[in-house]
Symmetry: C2
């Protein structure tokens, strides 16, 4: 279970992948495996939440990191960048945006 | 506090607004007020979570609805569509995507 609170100070990454609908399940599986095998073990990992759009042409990862430094550090890990390359090869495009969570209702 | 679970059966809406950085706070305020005054009172509303990007050019709403029928019903409410028009007038664009949550880590 993932919890969202505006006072937790986490960095939120929403990465939206555009994908051919026929490859959506494969992309989900790659991202799921990358999370289990590599990302979860990185310092400052809080959560990853993988979503599939209704039309199966988008996969979104809503991820939380303890801090910006923890998030940025993962890119120095070759195991992480290997998995990112695998995901990028299946996706048509991806758009990682870094956010702060400002308001939570209720 | 919002909780994400892959077995809750909720519909997830991720709506990403592109905005001039100088209007980002105003857009956040409009969305926050729309949630408090109107959306929270709608049947099937579960949560709305408003995010501001680092560069202040994107605002993302991560929202949960109990069911597709509940989500679709809100568009018939003039108070909801009024607030949507206000947000659309401030934003440069917006991209509402409907998802199912498939995997939650940890």
């Amino acid at each position: 279970m993932t919890t969202l609170r505006s006072d937790d100070g986490y960095l939120t990454l929403i990465n939206t992948f555009t994908v051919d609908a026929d490859h959506a399940e494969e992309l989900l599986e790659i991202l799921d495996r990358a999370t289990t095998e590599v990302l979860q073990q990185q310092p400052g990992f809080v959560s990853a939440n993988l979503h599939l759009s209704d039309d199966r042409t988008r996969v979104a990862n809503y991820a939380q990191w303890r801090s910006r430094a923890d998030y940025e550090a993962v890119f120095a890990n070759p195991a992480v960048t290997d998995h990112m390359r695998q995901a990028a090869a299946i996706a048509e495009s991806f758009d990682p945006i870094v956010y702060a969570l400002r308001h939570v209702h209720p």
